[in-house]
Symmetry: C2
Subunit: 430 residues, 2 copies
């Protein structure tokens, strides 16, 4: 076994994940060599500033700011820079030279996955990205391999720890969104600029990746509908709790069957889940991906969605797998897009909605509001009316209806003389 | 891609899982061929009685009772017979001919896994057994591959649906064990002879498999300590609920670090878990495997642990993976036993225990009982005494102590003049 030459590993990035990957490669070198069948030699760590202070004490002589040269001599490149460039160009160059690639870069895989997979397929190289979704949680490989003989119908994932932490605090502590965000920032769960998290961009990247993988179809990021958590109010949280429900931000990837064949949808938005749903119990900054497949039924994968050592575990799992195949031979894992399903427009997606309205408190208003739903062909399942001083509050739950019809309802309500304001809209999951 | 010849699949067994595998192979032939890059041709289904009535309508011409001949001509053998023989001999023969093997046979893998893996390694064949543990839940591949760069410290799994169903009923409905077992039998969750489930044999097979895989060490079945659920009483369930706890039967695989190097332990017994533990929420006949690794932290894998279509999903996942590698080339997945750790005797395992005793109700008894713990060096963390008419009940919680010391305590208490009886003993998980 150990007659194989050592494998040259180039590491790009020495942040919270990169420094842990370097540490584990150095500290567990013997154990990793035994698992791979060849030593994994960390030949260099590419960083912007080799002199910068780091969390983990790494050998200075491994540090280099010449990333292009580092990559050129590597068998396997581990990319933990984040962002599109220079990561994309460095990886394409590495792949062109025949190197395998491990990356945790969700933005890159979401935006340029097909480009990387195609380049890798040409030279027979491998691209692994387990750490790009769900941090430490094995989800890419289960979708790609374990469920390869089944047909995934839906994925519903809590894939952003920051927003889950914030929503969890709003539920458990009664915090406002602003206060919960401040706490998340203090504890290091949120970045100085939290836009990517709270506006759902991060979750949308992951939805793109999961949908593409689950449905064997390239799902472009621009077709992923995205809503963040900034519209979630204290009142919505309270309303959910009164109904034994919990609000979560989820990435939903769905196979939509129809007469004209299957289509797929990927979207990110808050939902209201029953407190008994397995995803409702996912607390703090944890992640979980709930997968439904035709034969397998419901599966859930739970764990840490971020963190240096946690994400490093997923990176090293990919690295060992890729290195083993490097030693023993065998094919790269090519992206499978053979199904090539159409992506449904968001307006065609079906959901149940709950709307809270403030309306004029006078006879006939309920009938008028109900009429708006009827005109758009949306069936109302439940109504609760509470009288106020001069106005009334109205909470309406709909039967399943298309997003397009609900949008029309909202537009009509917004313009309706009896509707003072639309207080909130949330989608319900059973 | 499709220029590759079709792969000849021999299916052994047409029970609840086998008939679903056959159905999916036939119904989803095109989709599977696209994923594999070659058609999967079901060449025959080996059964005891080809004329027997089955749940799924399968082509009569595929049925054969000549299993040896069927196996001889196959590229991949899917074994769903269960039990040791003839499964073992058929698979060894198939492997010797160079065939790859997919099996859901936990008893066979637990008892003869190393024999099969060694035979496969010689000819470069593959043995896959995702369905042997946790039914539809991907757990083998995540342990083998996703966590390959990490170090698993503990696995705690609800891996037997029957016993989880029974314990869940005792908690939620206040059923007795006998009534809950009767319901399980009625609903098809328990077999006519429930011994393998309720005495923990099934879970112990799975503990053997999980421990061997997680610790890269062959753990023989006879070194797995096993206790079933027959000792779990209504009173224990009530006692657990008073403390916001839930009783579950778990398979525990643990890395025990010590001065003389790491050892491993695999065991099956009931535990009392906090109601907030992710495993506590696993209801009905569901399974879940909670894995703790050094870098990844806590992960959980949840889903259906049994059922025809569900288990068939895992079998087909293995089949597609193996078939893909058959088409594209590459190494078999060999069992990794490079760590070769020692298995610790059960007496060395550390745990917290809760004991319920009925004792004489007279002064000095508590001191006498406490003395027994002190003599064995077991530290008591909590005591609750309730006076009865002529005797008192005493519930003692210990600090962490070795199973050997607890066994000595129990022996001494059993012989103690002031102790009328030991009502229950359960291990506590934090």
């Amino acid at each position: 076994m150990n007659s194989y030459r050592s494998l040259r590993i180039a590491l790009l990035g020495a942040g919270s994940v990169g420094s842990q990957v370097a540490r584990l490669l150095l500290e567990h070198a013997d154990e990793l060599a035994a698992r791979v069948g060849a030593p994994l030699e960390l030949v260099g760590i590419g960083v912007r500033d080799p002199e910068a202070q780091r969390d983990v004490d790494l050998p200075r002589e491994l540090m280099t700011s010449d990333l292009a040269t580092l990559v050129a001599g590597a068998d396997i490149v581990v990319e933990l820079l984040g962002g599109i460039e220079p990561a994309r160009t460095l990886l394409l160059d590495a792949i062109a030279e025949g190197a395998d690639v491990v990356t945790a870069n969700k933005a890159l895989i979401a935006a340029h996955g097909p480009e990387l997979f195609d380049a890798a397929a040409i030279v027979g190289a491998q691209v692994a990205y387990e750490a790009a979704v769900g941090g430490a949680i094995p989800i890419i490989r289960p979708l790609e391999q374990s469920l390869a003989g089944d047909r995934v119908t839906r994925i519903m994932g809590i894939v952003n720890g920051t927003t889950n932490f914030i929503l969890d605090r709003m539920h458990t502590e009664g915090s406002s969104l602003a206060d919960a965000l401040a706490t998340a920032t203090e504890l290091g769960y949120a970045e100085a600029d939290p836009t990517a998290d709270i506006e759902g961009f991060d979750a949308a990247s992951k939805a793109t990746i999961l949908a593409s993988l689950a449905f064997h179809t390239a799902v472009p990021g621009e077709l992923v509908h995205r809503e963040g958590i900034t519209g979630v109010t204290d009142a919505m949280v309270e309303q959910a709790e009164r109904n034994d429900r919990v609000i979560k931000l989820v990435a939903i990837c769905e196979r939509m069957s129809g007469d004209a064949g299957d289509r797929v949808s990927a979207r990110v938005h808050p939902v209201s889940l029953p407190a008994t749903h397995p995803l409702a119990a996912v607390r703090e900054a944890k992640n979980a991906i709930f997968v439904t497949a035709e034969a397998a039924g419901d599966l859930m994968f739970y764990g840490a969605g971020a963190g240096g050592p946690e994400t490093a575990s997923a990176v090293l799992g990919d690295l060992v797998s890729i290195a083993r195949r490097h030693v023993l031979g065998g094919p790269g894992r090519a992206a499978s897009t053979h199904a090539d399903l159409r992506v449904a427009p968001f307006g065609d997606v079906l959901a149940r909605h709950e709307l809270a309205l403030t309306v004029a408190d006078r006879p006939g208003v309920l009938a008028a509001v109900a009429g708006v739903f009827a005109e758009q062909g949306v069936s109302v399942e439940s109504v609760r009316q509470d009288a106020g001083e001069t106005s009334a509050s109205l909470v309406l739950g709909t039967h399943t209806a298309s997003e397009a019809r609900i949008a029309s309802v909202l537009e009509a309500l917004d313009a309706h003389i009896d509707v003072e304001r639309i207080d909130s809209v949330i989608r319900l999951i059973d």
